[in-house]
Amino acid sequence: MHIVACVKQTPKSDNVKIDPQTGCLIRSGTQSAMNPFDEFALEEAVTLKEQVGGKVSVITMGPPQAEAVLRDSIARGADEVFQLGDRALAGSDTWSTSYALSKGIEKINQLEHVDLIICGKQTNDSDTGHIGPQISAWLQIPNAAFVKKVVRVEKNSIVVERLTEDGSEVVELNFPCVISVVKEINKPRVRSVKGRMLAKRVPITVWTADDVQADKTKLGINYCPTRVVKSFVPKREVNAVAVEGANAKEKAAKLVALLKENKYI
């Protein structure tokens, strides 16, 4: 089975610093790493490969420094890595990004037939969860999102369980297909010693938009359908009333009285 995992380089910590004046991300001092949700996607790809045999390819879209997540993918068990890097891609929204990735996956498919594409549930920087379903739309193939378990792999299909608000649903998707996975699906392994050493030496294939025959009028900040017109730091009110008392018992009694008085309970 040939599996493609899609990964993205994002700011490492959830606690990124935003300039309150400009509303821009303060890049200096912010470390980058693989989007944490993509770790589950890659782990699932590698696990499936170990179970049924095959190969794991990884694709990312990003600036030159994004090759670091591809090297990291090798350390975590990927076999081949591809980067979409082109100025024309800069500023793409999810619609354009998913289009570019789908073209990249088509190209990987020409090298070796792709059966399954795995994405993380969302990224930690933009939190959309669009990429998986949208890649499937561009490629006109079935998909499932919020996948928490691969139930089984059949010859021509995969059976997965996805999370819903009221439980879960089991669906069967014919290959090729796309799944986006949640963190419940596995526990990502640590990077092996061999993988770490291999990661430093692996050649990175970089493709431009032309290399993957992408239509440039669908790409980048000038062509993608959505645009950020304003960004700002959310306001937070500070209005805490301290519940005072000599000890825990007194404070608790005071709190209960306050809540009752205001009819909150």
Binding site: A137, A144, A145, G167, P225, V243, Y264
Partner: protein, 331 residues
């Protein structure tokens, strides 16, 4: 694409297991406002099997028009089938704005539909409005884990699509006797029977049945709870108050409590009347999921945590002393 051809505000009336999802009423509130500002109609799209009966309910809650596709092939949600039916409807009726709930189903469905339709989509907005001059949809949403709010537009294509985070708007009030149009749209079932995906089964959650997002009082625990057993104490308080238990991400990651109870950006969004945060430091990701609570109480040993600062009532103390004392005081 001639933008003038696109008229009316649509909302997706999600049904699941034969029930209308409660967040649809919030979409009706948001959508009604947009439609009124534009002077256009508010239309709901109802997909499913044996769901026709909800059409009048949607009208009673503010819809002017309901498009109904009621066929067996739509009984369960499959991304492909739903996205195709939805994009066919969009092509046929050309809506101007389209709101979809940011539920698990809605997130995936909106994304796939936007590509089929060829338009832009904003994910998980918490506020939507019509810009006075250009009439565009301005959708505001948290990014970077809630550290930054971004307002997003889609100028060149229609409909402007947006998924709306549950609990971001009040539920629309019922106006009995409201009149609206119900349009049953035929579905070419044959087109979807050869689908490459198949629904196998639904597995009901084994939870206690209480839906966190519907609870009026929530007693939530963070890392400060310290262990699995600590949540039993929180359960006691919640039971005494007739509320539910929730958690921040720490305890879930540590395996003290199931993911279903997680509140925050990567968990549930809640909007209870009373939120009691026990040993929760108040990371911004958690705040994003509960800051809509009417009253927030924080109990923490450390008075300097963000939660203690953001709460309406901050009680400095050990939750293992405070909660038993509260239970006693409530007795």
């Amino acid at each position: 694409m001639n933008l003038q051809d696109y008229k009316n505000v649509w909302i997706f009336a999600q049904t699941q297991r034969g029930k209308l999802s409660p967040t649809v009423y919030e979409l009706l509130t948001a959508g009604r406002q947009l439609a009124d500002d534009l002077g256009e109609k508010l239309c709901a799209v109802l997909l499913g099997h044996q769901v026709k009966a909800f059409a009048q309910d949607l009208i009673n809650h503010g819809a002017d028009c309901v498009y109904v596709c009621d066929v067996p092939v739509l009984e369960n949600y499959l991304d492909d089938v739903y996205a195709r039916v939805l994009s066919d409807l969009v092509a046929q009726y050309k809506p101007n704005k389209f709101l979809i709930p940011a539920t698990n189903m809605g997130r995936a469905l909106s994304a796939k539909t936007a590509v089929f339709v060829g338009t832009g989509l904003t994910a998980d907005a918490t506020e939507v409005s019509i810009h006075k001059e250009d009439g565009q949809l301005y959708a505001t949403r948290p990014t970077f884990g809630g550290n930054l709010m971004a307002t997003i537009t889609c100028a060149k294509t229609r409909p402007e699509m947006c998924s709306l985070r549950p609990m971001s708007y009040e539920k629309a009030p019922k106006q009995p006797g409201r009149i609206g149009e119900i349009i049953e749209v035929p579905v070419d079932t044959g087109k979807y029977t050869g689908s490459l995906a198949k629904f196998v089964q639904f597995i009901k959650s084994k939870g206690d049945g209480l839906d966190l997002s519907e609870a009026e009082i929530i007693v939530a625990g963070g890392r400060g709870v310290g262990n699995k057993e600590g949540f039993k104490l929180l359960e006691k308080l919640a039971a005494r108050l007739g509320g539910a238990v929730g958690a921040s991400r720490g305890p879930v990651d540590s395996g003290w409590i199931d993911y279903r109870y997680q509140i925050g950006l990567t968990g549930r969004t809640v909007k209870p009347k009373l939120y009691i945060a026990c040993g929760i430091s108040g990371q911004i990701q958690h705040m994003a999921g509960m800051s809509g609570a009417n009253v927030i109480v924080a109990i923490n040993k450390d008075p300097d945590t963000p939660m203690m600062k953001a709460a309406h009532f901050a009680l400095e103390g050990d939750l293992y002393e405070v909660i038993p004392a509260m239970l006693e005081a409530l007795h």
